[in-house]
Symmetry: C2
Subunit: 377 residues, 2 copies
């Protein structure tokens, strides 16, 4: 079903990677390691959704293929920089089937590689002036500036919820956060950038932005479902990582909302427990010592609390969260939620494309709607 | 001596802070906490050197005061974002007399506030188009893009030395690293940006960039000396923090170079020890447990190594490094190194200013040369 779609993705990805190679090879003299680590995430197996979407919109609206290439490259660099910083913040173990950058090289180097990529992304945006002219290059830059701000605001909403142990969230709070954190830079920005490059008519662009907003939120919900129900081989991340990390997802918020008062207390107690230790061997050793030296149970518990903090989320806890979602019908609820948005996106896309000839760009966008909710990777 | 100089700094800082206030208040709706934390570092007591330097060069070369304001604001935002990320990387405890942002709010929030500031800095750079026109706005953006890359490369050089436990560095390696890590964004970029705004003649600008390069390196060496010899009340940071962190400084590299073979082995052994634990209470508790349970010294040591890692750098170690520097004459060597550069900077500045009228901008730049090496804050 996705062969043509896959080829389109693949071609965009290859073009962008070749640009990233050029950009990073320039810095080889003093920052060899910096620039080679910048290639790490981009070279891991990935879809390359953002560059392809940007190129498809720009192509749909009549711009030559090369016009969108520098911007698409900058999108991919921003995306990978965000991933590196997110992985540090979430202390994630795996990304695209391999250890995360900070797991491999430590937080200082990973943080810096991310900053370096944000800096490097400015280069193609400057070079844009020679490709699309001063005015459009500046318009694209303004979209990137807003994109970086929207992502920061969305991430911060989520971090604030975590800090305040906030679990009673309305669906629209969740949608607002996801719109800012994911939808903006994954769908809205690529569409706006593609449209700016091709100078699309404002009515058509508005419709395409509507498509992007609908798909962006659906994309995140599908991502949450994959995390809950998929396999590590598909996602390249730890299965149910969101539950271990205590992420606010549509499913989990749905389950909390539909739980009885008593059950809700139980779920929140689980969710307030800290994540498992990143040094389990050290904690096992402490436990071994404690067993040898302290006979009294409560004294041992007090020592354990001082050495290892409060009890952490366990496999049983994660299973309990999962079964609460299953019992509340949260998975099918989330699937319907995403499908409804994809349906509206398909209708809106048809409207946005009316009067335009059939093209590979248009086919790609149509397939993208289905892919967003049906994807298994 | 510095009253006029201080007033100039103060005025630039007030103007820039008021711009930062405007920028951050715009985002209040969804990112209230994000934007209020962006103000944290900028509002702490600080010199505001970069904005003042940018405005002074732009004023010296004849531009009206307001022309440099957006760029100066972006410089200050970048600087503070770098500080936040550096503090995470170095796991520093204090910044400007208060706990660092990640100590107060955790790494995820601090990392994000830094990213948010890098994003926000793009706003005034976009608004620049209405102040200095498209072409100059773009020229300024290009300088910022290079600045971000130079800093990333410099930081990475340093992180690489740390990772490889590299201590046998030539002075020119150190100067190259400092030029990229500190001098570029603290002196070279403000000068280039100010000159771009005022469209300075290329010969004059070359001389001013030379001044910036000389002062930038001298500034870092003076900073290293302050860290070694100053007091916490002056620097707002932990005294001798560089020695605790194992930073490559001109003084320390000089002492290593001038040590006997035997002494050098000793110094390097000290420098290879990890930094003190950030959880000393936990380690004390583990020690207490070990004392109670394990009688055998070597068994206890094995347990300690598995629980707490290898022995860490101690106060005695830090004192030993300090006395090696004192014995090698490293402090006066570094002071001469900085002064020589300041002298050459003063000569070059006079050449750059020849034919220009006396002005507050010119006086500021002249005082800045002296301040760079004589400063006590």
């Amino acid at each position: 079903m996705y062969t043509e779609f896959d080829r389109y993705l693949q071609r965009a990805r290859e073009d962008v990677l070749s640009e990233i190679h050029k950009l990073t090879s320039r810095g080889a003299r003093y920052g060899a390691q910096l620039y080679s680590l910048m290639l790490d995430y981009p070279l891991r197996s990935a879809k390359g959704l953002r560059p392809a979407l940007c190129m498809a919109v720009s192509g749909l609206l009549g711009a030559p293929r090369d016009a969108a290439l520098p911007s698409a490259t900058a999108l991919e660099l921003y995306h990978n920089a965000f991933l590196i910083h997110d992985d540090i913040e979430d202390d994630s173990a795996l990304r695209r089937h391999e250890p995360t950058l900070h797991q491999r090289h430590g937080v200082p180097i990973a943080l810096h590689v991310g900053d370096g990529m944000l800096a490097l992304a400015l280069d193609p945006l400057m070079a844009n002036t020679e490709v699309v002219g001063l005015a459009r290059a500046l318009r694209v830059l303004k979209i990137f500036a807003r994109m970086a701000r929207e992502s920061a605001e969305g991430q911060m909403m989520e971090l604030e919820w975590i800090r305040r142990a906030e679990w009673e969230l309305r669906e629209r709070d969740y949608v607002r956060m996801v719109y800012k954190k994911t939808a903006w830079y994954t769908f809205v920005a690529p569409v706006l950038v593609g449209a700016a490059i091709a100078r699309g008519s404002s009515e058509r662009v508005r419709a395409l932005v509507r498509v992007a907003t609908l798909l962006g939120v659906a994309f995140q919900v599908a991502d949450d479902l994959l995390d809950l129900q998929g396999y590590e081989e598909q996602t390249g991340k730890r299965t149910r990582g969101d539950l271990w990390e205590g992420k606010r997802t549509l499913c989990l918020l749905h389950a909390v909302r539909h739980a009885s008062a008593e059950e809700r207390r139980e779920l929140k107690a689980i969710l307030e427990r800290p994540r498992p230790s990143s040094e389990p061997e050290r904690e096992a050793l402490i436990e071994q010592l404690l067993q040898r030296v302290v006979d009294d149970d409560s004294e041992r518990e007090a020592f354990r609390a001082r050495l290892c903090g409060p009890p952490r989320r366990s496999q049983r806890d994660v299973d309990r969260l999962w079964s609460a979602m299953a019992a509340a019908g949260s998975f099918s609820y989330a699937r319907r939620f995403a499908s409804r948005r994809a349906e509206r996106a398909a209708e809106t896309l048809a409207r946005a494309c009316s009067g335009l000839p059939r093209s590979e760009h248009r086919s790609f966008l149509e397939s993208l709607v289905a892919f967003t909710v049906e994807r298994s990777r």
